[in-house]
Symmetry: D2
Subunit: 258 residues, 4 copies
């Protein structure tokens, strides 16, 4: 069984190194999550447990791949951004995306019970992943803005839709018809006048999605400190905040500089 005569097949592997000095975004999307969320009785329009589980999976990935400088999630998707100078896996696209998707997926099952206490996991979920490169900070921020604007638009629509269905008793088709052609202000007005809901008072996690970044934290558990030297370490911090405007980025200037 001479292995060597077959080893030429390795040469068919193709190099897929990401262009240097670009931000590497890995976006993970749930596959067939409409069916998955029905099968597992996710609450509508948002299931807090499911979103927290997604955040936990992203945190799990960030702790393994510390070159991820920011992650943004909403619904059944998460975008993880590797710093532009990363040399993780020699920047090979397939290595990066498969490791990230793999750990995200296995974490989803592993941590399921931490969030879904009374709902058994019925079958293993599936996520796809893709790699997108952005050459400039502006492009990267526009990417993240795109996902957050998408979160807002979908959440406003879904909030209205499920009020109409769950509270007003409309069928799905009736609710769709009712919302057809409405703009944001119309939907806000429906929520306020018909359901007494001020959209802006709904939880930030639903309206803004979830932002994970590294933050330096003083470590009170560290008793070894002497002479007022305060040891710090990085931790993954969770925010539900606007990342379209400049405020967030001004307050966390190190994210894109790192």
């Amino acid at each position: 069984m001479a292995k060597s005569k077959y080893e030429y097949v390795r040469k068919f592997e193709q190099n897929d190194q990401c262009l240097l000095n670009c931000w590497i975004v890995i976006r993970i999307d749930g596959r067939n999550f409409h069916r998955f969320s029905d099968a597992h009785n996710f609450e509508k329009p948002n299931d807090q447990r499911a979103l927290q589980l997604m955040n936990k999976c992203a945190e799990s990935v960030m702790k393994e791949f510390t070159d991820v400088v920011i992650a943004y999630g909403q619904s059944d998707e998460f975008s993880l951004v590797f710093k532009r100078s990363t040399s993780q896996f020699g920047r090979r696209a397939s290595k990066l995306v498969t490791n990230v998707v793999s750990l995200f997926s296995s974490s989803y099952v592993f941590y399921w019970g931490h969030f879904f206490t009374y709902q058994e996991l019925l079958y293993p979920p599936m996520f796809d992943g893709r790699v997108v490169l952005y050459p400039t900070e502006k492009n990267l921020r526009d990417y993240l803005s795109w996902r957050q604007a998408d979160c807002h638009i979908n959440n406003l629509y879904n909030t209205c839709f499920w009020c109409l269905v769950q509270q007003a008793g409309l069928t799905s088709n009736q609710a769709e018809d009712r919302l057809n052609g409405t703009v944001s202000s119309d939907k806000n007005e429906i929520l306020f006048s018909e359901f007494n809901i001020n959209y802006n008072n709904l939880p930030q996690m639903y309206r803004k999605g979830s932002v994970l970044i590294w933050e330096k934290m003083s470590d009170p558990s560290d008793s070894s400190q002497v002479n007022n030297f305060q040891k710090t370490r990085r931790q993954v911090a969770l925010h539900h905040t606007d990342i379209i405007g400049d405020t967030f980025w001004n307050e966390h200037g190190d994210i894109l500089d790192s």
Copy 2:
């Protein structure tokens, strides 16, 4: 929150369609599985439960992606072969590899308890994946032969190594030194003369790895049959057999023709 002004960022995604009429091999490899197998007390040199779990994950992938015509696994790796004419995901490499790796990974956690009854899963595992294209049947068969020859070589070595350590009481370094420079016949002789083991009598799964293919099976549960018309359906069948020689391929001519 005008989403449209950001949507241009979608255009940064790059097409990665696999060349038509080539076999698409997805190879999955455990990441840091040396540490993982230690942490979870895998039996050495082979842990039957771990191999059966790997096979279950591969079967799970094949049932989801029925264009996989054959899968071959050994140790912590599995190769899944999409038929050359597949149009799954428009043959996009990143879609194919991420979905396969994702389902494999989530299945690993999901089905862990089916095989590891007394060993808790301590942390989520990770697998990487890669896509390799093979233009001809010969190239594809050589690829599979390469993996099976690798299985043989590693298993023979590991079987000797762990006999020397577990039964003869050598340290790891001593066992390595003992095996250094030996060829296959030497290792067979060591096993036979010192440990009374006929290598060829060891379980086929350890020596040959695992082969998953689709097989047509008559369905006795189908009571609707009339006039001797026997309904058949495809099922994933597991073999531990040689796939380097021609016999297997002659007996299953439909695998590569499909």
Copy 3:
């Protein structure tokens, strides 16, 4: 002027090696050749000089890159096929396509005067090039058949069109209208009944295009031969023949086996 601090920019170059064991087709197309042929008073529907010049350029490329096993040309395009095992330029797509296009283009100007005796070259022409990989003989032959069928269809149309314009005095629009909706047999009939032309008697170069292959030829100039040992060498041979059917390939079995 420390060059070394800038040399990191080399790492931005990306590998574009062609998949192994595939036929590598380089197709060259004239850019803006409608304008070019008008400016240089090409005869319609076919200019023998222009076609011979194209053939000369392809021959020039084949003599430089001897791994090209067959080249097929028609109109302002040429396809050059590198053998599937070629390691020319490490199979790097950009190296292959640019060298071929470059030599073809410089040859076009260099040899212009050999064919266009009375027509000065007014400006440098331009060709684009692309790389296409074919995994099997069938795919490759279908590619070449596609180009030759294209040659036939265009040439039949153009022959009719220019008869109608040059001999029957129709305007371009009138000729187009006349041919609109006609099938091959209609066009053959127009040529025969109105212009007394039997299409099948027109020069093969116009109807079939040009095929360049390597052929072994005895070398009568070699006086060193002894004992009836006849030295042979390869030369580029030009054919105007059908390459869709099997006859050509049966007669030149070494083209695809090489």
Copy 4:
């Protein structure tokens, strides 16, 4: 001759669109130009005619592809930079590089006689081309600096080398040995003390290479101007100047902003 049954082969073409918002550099290199320059009796260390011909070819390309914002040439190479927002050829790498290389190559032959009055062109030259993407201005400027530093280093070496050979009568090997291990200041000293040459007084074209950019020029031939309205148009302007420092870029801020 049904063309349609073969047309599937088009689907084997692969998309190679360049990442958006990156500078696209096409670098052209002479192939086997050592032999070419010997065969055509190029003057050493620099042949003014050959450099001017290269500049003419680059100008020819810029006039055809007006999205090229700067071109830099030295010796037998030229780098042409497409603006980062270009949509020329849909940013397809193979289209960009082959058209540029093709026109450069055909121009080289076409314009040969304009510069080489007494030296016939003996055979068609060949250039290769490659595409390199740069995400930031800094990366792009570092690329150009790399090429200009290379020009300086090679030219200083070659100037010394050919003085030693042509004037001091050393053999090639002796000249190489003499220069082995020398740094820039040593070479300057050799030129000054032994050959009475102040390197800095040599022609800028040899020391700095050639820079082609677009410049707005008033058009005195335009007699239609009224009311002091001065029509301007862009012309390709040739410079032999430092592009490593900031001065050039400050003076031509529109090159990278365009």
